[in-house]
Amino acid sequence: MTDTATLKITYREALKQGMHEALINNEKVFLMGEDVGRYGGAFAVSKGFLAEFGEDRIMDVPLSESGFVGAGIGAALAGMRPIVEVMTVNFSLLALDQIINNAATLLHMSGGQINVPVVIRMNSGIGNQLAAQHSHSWEPFYAHIPGLKIVSAGTHEDARGMLLTALESPDPVVIFEYTSLLNMESEIRSGSGAVDIDKAKIRREGKDLSIITYGPGVYKALAAAEILASSGIDVEIIDLRVLNPIDDDTIINSVVKTHRALIVEEAWRSVSISSEIISRIMENAFYSLDAPVERLCGIEVPIPYPKHLEDASIPQKQDIVDSVLKMIQHD
Amino acid sequence: MKDQELKTTILQLLSKIAPDIDPQELEMDANIREVFGIDSFDFLQFIIGLDEEFGITTPEEDYGKITTLNTLMAYLKLASNKQV
């Protein structure tokens, strides 16, 4: 086997392999969450784990987000390395008190004596007609909170590797995974494993404009870039990956090079990740801009159930193509 | 026609075609088309001008004989003598 060999897997399989490797590597790692055991996970990411690792390490919990997230934080305090699965980000709101007032705050409150090495995974974004209770994107909310590291797995490589690195962190990490990507297949290097969770990544190099995105925006932007390339427009694509703390250097260096930026995200527009990125560009790269920074975000409505409205509520590949053309050709 | 008059007439024609070039800078044995940046269309206009001015007919095969002021003036003298 060589390093260049690749294999084609689904995003779901990438998540599963990452978690499987984590459970094998370290006996202190265990998985807890709603339906993760007997049912195999609401999104079938932990299918078969109960039989392989047993009830002590694959733990079904009651439908009480505040309760089981709190229990996970307690286990982390006691020296374990829990992976807490909150089915979707929408339900995580019930556990915000535990996540913010305990996980994010204890290191500070204890004068630096107590770390909370908990990893919380949650699915985010639209999920093929799951309606407004299951389809929202709360990344901007979590990225607002000091004391939490927030990462977003927008590629198969990151779905496979982010969890492994997160479990090494002494402090709480929230990993956003994406319901809409679960069945998507992609090639990853066969030796793929842990990835850094500090830096944004340039997913495609280009010179005419920087598209800055995360989550499902990454693959959409890459597809849009191919279309734009056929019109001779060469865009650079930055996958933010880490939403708190944000990697300024990668963004600013890119904008200084291309002089134009478009931010793409599925979350609602106002007070969002894009708001923050644009502020940082203004603070650090104003005199390198040759055009106003633009953004494509989710429409500010509860995500609708009908397919055509669901599609219309978030940025699509063609929206990205159109926005870039407008920014570059403005006619 | 005296040499000087001949030369003045030629230079006037050239100036009409290429007003941006100072005709006084044209040396006697320099290639006229190169100095004035004259393409085939301009050259045809130039020949038409010469023919009208001197009452001659310049056949196409003679174009090669009139590349410099020296050769052009010699050619014109010969041609206008023949014509008379």
């Binding site: 005199y287 | 007003p19 045809l44 007919t57």
Partner: protein, 393 residues
């Protein structure tokens, strides 16, 4: 009522200044009449009308600069002539008044117009300071007419060339406009169009022999130049391979008429490309007569609107008298440009023997979004074949 609008005289034209109306209200006009002179980047252009009827109202005032598409005048169509008498009646007048008012709210930006504020990107502003460019004299090409990096780059380039002076203020300005128009169109072409190039050599001995025989029998004024053969041979080759004669705008639009844009270099620098309409249907003598008319007017920057906007493909003979080969940049939205080099004697191998022949190198630069190498090759072969049978041209 027909609306007569500011025409677009090429992909790079954004607006024009009305220099003079050649008609007045009540005048009868027919297709092809020149009704106005408009000052554009390409000089003073005579604008033709394409409808028949009676001028109702001249809306744009002389000296006014308006964007492409602005209604400049209204014309009562010929078949409505009977009702033309009502032109002083209040009804149409109030209609046009209402229309003007209703436009107002759409143009919200007018509010900022009076404010002494220049739209310029931060990058462009920084560059202008660094390079000592006076931005108040620059016309922006960015969003909402803002000045962007490209405009500063252009201004820097023009500043470097500013020692070239031409007498006559108007002509100087026009030449500057030509430069800016070329810069904008060519940058866009190079950025957007994936060019590919094909080249072939053509033996010109038959064509030149035929030409010199033909010219021997004609008066000086009716003599043909070899370029006329090249134009006609090209036009006929287009008829055989029509794919090269097209526009690319959000997709391919094949053109039925063959209007060959003929590149004319200006002595002060710059190129203008008047169209030779329906070149395939014109005889060699007609083509020569057309060139005799077009070239001097092109050099004086006195072309008509239709002549600047009709080309469906471009031919450049710029190599004549100088270089052997020319590789062109396509003029958008066209999809091809044909470049002829100088006709020179070259060694020519044929049937196992070497001889010298007058040879022209011809290139085709084509838009790979629109056409492929196979068709491009067929086009050049057709061109080559046509030049071997000059009598049939």
């Amino acid at each position: 009522m027909i609306e007569f609008t500011m025409p677009s005289l090429g992909a790079d034209m954004e607006d024009g200044t009305l220099a003079e109306w050649r008609v007045k209200s009540g005048d009868f006009v027919k297709r092809g009449d020149i009704i106005a002179d408009v000052d554009t980047q390409k000089g003073l252009i005579e604008i033709e009308v394409f409808d028949e009827g009676t001028i109702h109202e001249l809306i744009v005032k002389e000296g006014e600069k308006v964007p492409v598409g602005t209604v400049m005048a209204t014309i009562i169509p010929a078949q409505e002539k009977i009702s033309a008498d009502v032109k002083t009646a209040p009804a149409p007048a109030s209609k046009s008044k209402i229309k003007k008012e209703s436009i107002k709210p759409a143009v919200k930006r007018v509010v900022t117009k009076g404010i002494d504020h220049l739209k310029i990107s931060p990058l462009a502003k920084r560059m202008a300071v660094e390079k000592g460019i006076d931005v108040s004299t620059i016309k922006g090409s960015g969003p909402q007419g803002s000045i962007v990096k490209k405009d500063i780059d252009l201004a820097v380039a023009m500043k470097a060339e500013s020692h070239v002076e031409v007498t006559g203020g108007k002509k100087e300005r026009a030449a500057e406009g030509v430069r800016a128009a070329i810069a904008s169109a060519m940058s866009r072409s190079n950025r957007e169009i994936p060019h590919f190039y094909l080249e072939t050599r053509i033996d010109m001995s038959k064509a030149l022999d035929w030409l010199s025989q033909s010219n021997k029998q004609t008066e000086l004024k009716d003599r043909l130049l070899s370029v006329v053969l090249l134009i006609k041979a090209t036009a006929k080759a287009i008829r055989e391979v029509p794919a090269v004669n097209a526009y690319w705008k959000n997709g391919l639009e094949l053109k039925n008429v063959i209007n060959i844009g003929f590149a004319v270099s200006l002595r002060e620098g710059g190129v203008v490309i008047p169209a030779i309409p329906e070149a395939d249907k014109k005889s060699l003598n007609e083509l020569m007569a057309l060139l005799n008319d077009l070239i001097p007017r092109a050099r004086a920057l006195q072309l008509r609107s239709s002549e600047l906007s009709q080309s469906t493909i471009t031919l450049t003979n710029i190599g004549e008298g100088s270089t052997d080969k020319v590789f062109g940049i396509i003029y958008p939205p066209q999809v091809a440009i044909i470049g002829f080099g100088n006709i020179v004697e070259e060694a020519w191998a044929e049937n196992g023997a070497l001889s010298t022949r007058p040879v022209v190198h011809v290139t085709l630069a084509a838009d790979h979004r629109a056409i492929d190498g196979y068709l491009g090759g067929r086009f050049l072969m057709a061109l080559k074949k046509n030049l071997q049978n000059p009598a049939a041209l």
